[in-house]
Subunit: 284 residues, 2 copies
Amino acid sequence: MPPFPEAAHPFDAALALTRQDGTNYLGATHPAWANMVGPFGGITAATVTQAILDHAECLGEPVALTVNFVAAIATGPFVLNLRIARTNRSTQHWVFEMQQTQKDGSVESVFTGTAMTAARRETWSANDLPMPQVPPPETLAAAHIPQGVEWLTRFDMRGVLGGLPHTWDGAESILSSSESSLTQLWVRDRAGRAMDFAALTAFSDIFFPRVWVRRAQWVPAGTVSMTVYFHADSAQLSAVGSGFVLAQARGQVFRNGFFDQSGCLWSEAGVLLATTHQLVYYKE
Amino acid sequence: MPPFPEAAHPFDAALALTRQDGTNYLGATHPAWANMVGPFGGITAATVTQAILDHAECLGEPVALTVNFVAAIATGPFVLNLRIARTNRSTQHWVFEMQQTQKDGSVESVFTGTAMTAARRETWSANDLPMPQVPPPETLAAAHIPQGVEWLTRFDMRGVLGGLPHTWDGAESILSSSESSLTQLWVRDRAGRAMDFAALTAFSDIFFPRVWVRRAQWVPAGTVSMTVYFHADSAQLSAVGSGFVLAQARGQVFRNGFFDQSGCLWSEAGVLLATTHQLVYYKE
């Protein structure tokens, strides 16, 4: 693994890439963002967002991103291929794929996706997703962080609704099977790193699987595809600073191994920052 | 342009591709699916769904699809590059890009995306998006089809809520600026072609821009990215046959040139077939 800059915040350290040639970048998974298996999906997605923004030919700011977790990402180095598919007058389209060398020496794809950036202009605007009324974060206790999931310790989470059970032993669960899988939580970077497009990408993947809330039961589950629509521009993200974001997600349809989820992120001032959707695999 | 099979339904004719080599297919836009500029986006997206299903190595059935309309597709031939990025035990990931030769001889990308197929197994399931109570399609008048939009004549649409104005002259509009941009309509193939994954893909793009309903005003608008999550399997789609589908869409956030839309498709029997999302460009 390449060395990480010691002084950097672990988020920026994880996003660091070394450009190899025209479209290939070398990176590596970072231990601060380890999930139960492989890295937190949000950090992988954020790596691409940052690579696009850092690209010398990048036009505008992110407006749409779709990522696919096509296989478990192994701890260690990866190569990100990122290229511009099309540049228009005010919009630009990106295609990317992440590969890892396997134990047998073969090179396999682990992550694919597309993104769009745009130079936005002021137009008529309306928000039909106003922030729900919830208690302010300061009045809520910090969420219980289950042991052994390193990336969760990077965040300060304050649960509002639809939290994780304290234990997974069924009988002692604080949850009961629910009519909906709605979760609302306040979340911010624990080390005070300011909000930006990469962070907003990572925050979009912060929800644990809806199927756990809906069934009050632990089953293996993992995101297979995530889409983020960025509604905020960089000025609106700067205004968030290191403040809390209200994150909301709800499962829609659970059927034969896959469910979809619809989510939103608002700043504490009530500005809708992003809408996000996932398709999630689950077992049993 | 290659000749189209005369006997085929115009939907199947438009989907016809000729394989050139390992990953490249030759196709062409079909006049029956012309939009105001270029082809109906849903037919382009459906072409990819069908190409994946027709691929000799296809594993399972579609579960997720994201397409990006990266530039206007010109009337005429195109080359679709479609490849498998990864095959797992029960899931498979696809990457595709459509290119057209420009007047100056250069080859440019016009369409990109990713898809996922899976061999699904029966699991615990739940639908948190029950079909809304609406009048049955037989009791509703066929929607007014604006002149000059050929693809609309391929469908039998019965508006329930949030329809198009009859005229676009402002004062005579039947619409008024709305608190929400909710549209519900019954829709089926006018020529009785049966529902399948390609048709479900096309039906997912059937909604006119939400910004027209929300503002009661015509402004230039076009889909730039669409995601479809397929919840139905082929047996559930077969059961739809040539029946009506209830299609619902609602805009979420309209800001500085882009809005997002969230949609659902149900069979007349109330089976949730797909959820779908779009990011749409609009002017002014």
